[in-house]
């Protein structure tokens, strides 16, 4: 009998499965190539691609916090856009204080001013995230309907408070001297600020990946996404972890707000809730809770929005919805679904 004992067999993914799993990674390059084919002119394409990458990475910065918070605690924050707006306004205030630095031609001073603005707005939106979690989200854990309503209420109140502090009008934000203008590559003109945004976005993505993959904190966060109760049973206070992630997500939204404000050069109290539409599309495309999916989704949306704005400006926003519908037809849970059981 012992000869015929059932042996456990470990089956690795078949090559086909591996291709399937990696398929989403190819989407962004495919999109870029399709854009090249549709546009034709390589220099126009280069300009649009850099713009798309910049936009995509900024959306990624804002969306990443939202998606991790959802993955970890099953909480979706419809008021996330408020942090984007607040971040933009705080950044604007700091840049206005440092007007001497931003207007000087020295690159170092310009960058220092931007980084100070980013730091200040991240600090403030992080603190705001703490308050938001304690006051608004905490009483309604595990209750989706109330979460949506209450965070929406938080958004209304936050937008009104921005009106109280900074006034109801749209404000013009000037980019620092050395981030104005464009680089010229052959016939293609690439705005300097977009290159800067791509740089910051990539650095952040790599840093986030590093934290999630190679540190103890990241391990706990990933374990919490996979099975929160088990992490708790092992003696970690997942609530505290969650609070930390919520604050980090809010701070990232603030950072995204500063970047987006400088990109658009105009800020309003509603800018956050406007950009949230794209953020939600990205989060849905990526699969709720997935950082990698969110990254790919953000690049896709950024590229598509910029290509379509050139090819058929009237249907630019609708095309991103079409992209979302297409992705969901292919993978109903998004590109990389994480949250299965909850």
């Amino acid at each position: 009998m012992s000869e015929t004992a059932i042996r456990p067999k470990l089956v690795g993914p078949t090559p086909l499965e591996r291709v399937r799993r990696a398929a989403p990674l190819l989407l962004a390059p495919v999109m870029a190539l399709a854009g090249l084919a549709a546009i034709g002119d390589p220099s126009v394409w280069l300009t649009l691609t850099v713009a798309g990458l910049a936009m995509g990475l900024m959306i990624f910065i804002m969306a990443s916090g939202l998606t991790v918070v959802f993955g970890l605690m099953d909480v979706i924050n419809f008021g996330h856009g408020a942090f984007v707006s607040v971040g933009a306004f705080v950044g604007f205030t700091v840049l206005a204080w440092l007007a001497g630095w931003t207007q000087s031609p020295a690159v170092i001073l310009n960058l220092a001013a931007v980084f100070l603005a980013i730091l200040a707005s991240m600090a403030i939106t992080g603190a705001l995230g703490l308050a938001f979690e304690r006051v608004i989200v905490k009483p309604v854990y595990g209750h989706h309907l109330k979460q949506i309503l209450v965070t929406m209420g938080g958004l209304i109140v936050a937008q009104q408070l921005i009106h109280v502090v900074w006034g109801p009008d749209a404000i013009h934000v000037a980019r620092p001297q050395s981030l104005q203008g464009s680089f010229i590559f052959g016939e293609a003109a690439i705005e300097k600020y977009r290159v800067f945004a791509v740089g910051i976005g990539l650095v952040l993505f790599l840093a986030m990946r590093h934290v999630l993959r190679a540190t103890r904190l990241g391990l706990l966060v990933r374990a919490g996404v996979e099975n929160g109760e088990m992490v708790e049973a092992l003696g970690y206070r997942i609530r505290r972890l969650f609070l930390l992630v919520f604050m980090a997500g809010s701070a990232l939204a603030g950072l995204g707000g500063v970047m987006w404000g400088l990109y658009q050069e105009t800020i309003t109290a509603h800018m956050g809730s406007e950009i949230m539409v794209l953020v939600f599309v990205v989060v849905i495309i990526g699969g709720l809770g997935s950082i990698e999916g969110c990254f790919i989704g953000a690049l896709l949306v950024g590229l598509l929005a910029n290509y379509m704005a050139f090819l058929a400006p009237k249907i630019a926003l609708v095309s991103t919805i079409a992209l979302m519908v297409g992705v969901l037809m292919w993978r109903p849970q998004g590109l990389y679904p994480v949250v299965k059981a909850k």
Binding site: I148, F280, K314
Partner: protein, 352 residues
């Protein structure tokens, strides 16, 4: 008789019943009680929003689905009538075509969105509808040849509904019997009929099943109800009702534009009205819409006075400025979700 009319769903509270009767009487005799253009306009808006908010309550309160696309359906109804009237010229057949077309488009779109995204989870549906609705609003403002773009459409309605039309030469209680009066009663009776129809729906076996799905979808499925079917049907019904409300608005204000029908602000207003009035109680829609629109129209004057009175205190005065009324409603909204989720109506009912 009354029991049949209200589908056996009585107010269940004396104070609530008194308030409802008061609102009903005030709306029914509004042209005679409150002469003038602005009060009549306010009364008509209250009627239209009662239908709109009740149709949203069908979704949010009775089915437990959060949608941010409700203004989209409202807008489709309004644009249906607006486009039909501008293309076919003023006439009741144009209104009929517009109403039918708008309602059908809404129903089909709701069916598509519902089948597409209701399977997953409530949050998912909320996000998808938010994205679709804002894309739709942008699309409408871009297609200026068809929808008038940002400026919207101004059109003429049948002569019988305009002030120029005389119903009779004498005055009744000092009120001119003109087409405007006729238009108001058209809006009022349509709204009343739609509201009673919705009250019938939520008290039918179908409505009871909706509540079961809301409270425990898993169990409802286990008992043998097709949860997805019930949710989708509720979505389609509420979309159709919303577009009928939109059609009423289009007839009443003789103008349809993105700001009056499709904007996110209106969506937030609807949310506030449902939650403050009371989710899952059709009467909450009546109370919520009436309170909110009266506040929108008249509270701002009061707040202006309060701002003047507190001018000496810098911060307080800024917070009390008339433009900040949404701030206070937002706070009220959060508090009511926490402390009395069944709103004013639930509060009154519990007091007996």
């Amino acid at each position: 008789m009354i029991n049949t009319l209200f589908s056996g769903d009585r107010p269940q509270s004396r104070i609530l019943a008194a308030i409802l009767i008061l609102i009903g009487l005030a709306l029914a005799f509004a042209p005679f009680l409150f002469p003038g253009t602005k009060p009549l306009d306010t009364a008509a808006r209250i009627c239209i929003f009662i239908v709109l908010v009740a149709s949203y309550d069908l979704l949010l309160g009775y089915t437990g689905i959060v949608s941010f696309a409700h203004t989209m359906f409202f807008g489709i109804g309004a644009y249906g009538v607006a486009i039909a009237l501008s293309v076919m010229g003023p006439g009741f057949s144009a209104i009929g075509v517009g109403v039918v077309a708008g309602t059908l488009v809404s129903a089909v779109l709701a069916l598509a969105i519902g089948l597409f995204s209701l399977r997953v989870k409530a949050i998912f549906f909320a996000m998808v509808t938010l994205a679709v609705a804002s894309a739709f609003a942008v699309l409408v403002s871009q297609m200026s040849g068809f929808t008038g773009g940002e400026d919207g459409l101004t059109y003429r309605i049948p002569r019988e509904l305009t002030p120029a039309f005389r119903l009779a030469d004498f005055r009744l209680f000092d009120v001119r019997l003109d087409g405007r009066l006729l238009a108001y009663y058209l809006v009022f009776f349509c709204a009343l009929a739609l509201f009673l129809a919705m009250l019938r729906i939520v008290n039918s076996p179908f409505g009871t099943t909706l509540k079961a799905v809301r409270d425990n979808a898993f169990r409802a499925e286990a008992i043998g109800y097709r949860v997805i079917w019930y949710r989708t049907t509720a979505t389609v019904l509420s979309a159709a009702m919303a577009s009928l409300a939109g059609a009423l608005l289009a007839i009443w204000i003789r103008y349809t534009g993105p700001a009056t029908t499709l904007s996110m602000e209106i969506m937030i207003d609807i949310l506030l009205m449902v939650v403050i009035g009371g989710m899952g109680t059709m009467y909450g829609a009546v109370i919520g819409a009436t309170l909110f629109i009266l506040a929108q129209t008249y509270l701002q004057n009061l707040m202006g006075a309060a701002e003047q009175a507190t001018e000496a205190l810098p911060l307080v005065s800024v917070l009390l400025a008339p433009e900040r009324w949404l701030l206070w409603l937002g706070v009220l909204f959060i508090l009511s979700v926490y402390f009395f989720p069944d709103g004013v109506v639930g509060r009154l009912r519990r007091r007996g």
